[in-house]
Symmetry: C2
Subunit: 222 residues, 2 copies
Amino acid sequence: MTFTYDHPHPAVTTDIVIFTIRQNQLKALLIKRALAPFQGEWALPGGFVDLDESLDEGARRELEEETGVTGVYLEQLYTFGRPERDPRERVITVAYFALIPSDRMELRAASDAEGVSWFGLDELPELAFDHSEILGMAHERLIAKLDYSTIAFQFMPATFTLTELQSVYELILRESVDKRNFRKGILALGLIEPTGGARRAGAHRPAKLYRVIDRSRVDVIK
Amino acid sequence: MTFTYDHPHPAVTTDIVIFTIRQNQLKALLIKRALAPFQGEWALPGGFVDLDESLDEGARRELEEETGVTGVYLEQLYTFGRPERDPRERVITVAYFALIPSDRMELRAASDAEGVSWFGLDELPELAFDHSEILGMAHERLIAKLDYSTIAFQFMPATFTLTELQSVYELILRESVDKRNFRKGILALGLIEPTGGARRAGAHRPAKLYRVIDRSRVDVIK
DNA sequence: GCAAAAGTGTTATCCCTACACCCATGA
DNA sequence: TCATGGGTGTAGGGATAACACTTTTGC
């Protein structure tokens, strides 16, 4: 089956930078390419956009196919379209970034991936295509958004302690944060509430658990 | 001549929201469509991306074809790809926004445009396709960037007065700004310098003229 | 000399930052 | 009882916001 047009058309893909926090590190998900080009090299998950789905839907479908996760935060990042970025044909990619909570970790290898693995942002391998550039831009955007939005909540599981939330900020910003000021600021947003429960985790006072009050308001500007 | 692929490809266009300040108003450039679909309706300038040019180059080419201007500020905005956004075929558009100084106004009607006109943001007509949504997002982004970047300089001609610059802020933000605080803040950025000249414009004290010191540093964060 | 826009400093307020000790628990 | 992380308030400094009069010109 072939498709014919009266002027040339590029291929369009979505590629997704999937971040999470694991082992006290900010990590991104990469897949090892099973097919040429760049066979055997690491790349961002992604794939062609179907003609009957929107870009967001395509990105969400790829995200689910590669990782099995649904319902997570997904945001369009930027569109990359240098003519030579794919050796096969002209491919324009609409890049997205997704944030997934630390506890949704059941990963599933998909048909076009030999392997799937999380990489700390400090230990990234060489990437196929222009994916290093894409990942770099996503990383910058994540850091920038931490300052003026409440995007960090997207990394949190259903309930969490304030210390856990603070450590997400510290890991991403790579700087320590004053505990009292942090708690004051976060609670003043009015976006989280104590569950009433607490987490006992060793020989010390238990930490109060919090939950996000309204998941839909989590992306609002600080 | 036809082009054949083994899986379906969407068409990819760039559309450009071109802003300027004219007649004490923030205005956007629209063209009246000469051809179906939406023949006779107003739309954003734009067109298909050539296979051998990058997205930025395509946008810049369209910008020049439609308006004749070159060398102006151009930034990728967002990519729109709802499957039904164009009735002819699947069309994905990478939207850009451009800011052009008040004095670069020689407009040129292009081959596929019956008419070209500036519209105040308060008096926009119905637009073809999803162009109202695109223009709305560009408008939001412009307002947001005014606060944390020095993008407003892009609207200024080679020399300008501080009052003129202030009125750009006031027009876009739709609120008045304290004159002394504004001047203090702008001059503290160290991005502009007095030319030595002044503008006499009526029965009052002449205003000092300023110029941007380094055009390439104009997009920096405040 | 008068109308009209240009130009200029100081003070109060608010927000952000710095900072140290007590609490609850498990071993 | 002691070691460990959890939890809490206040004061100072810096940036932002409010505010009014003098200057220069054209008519």
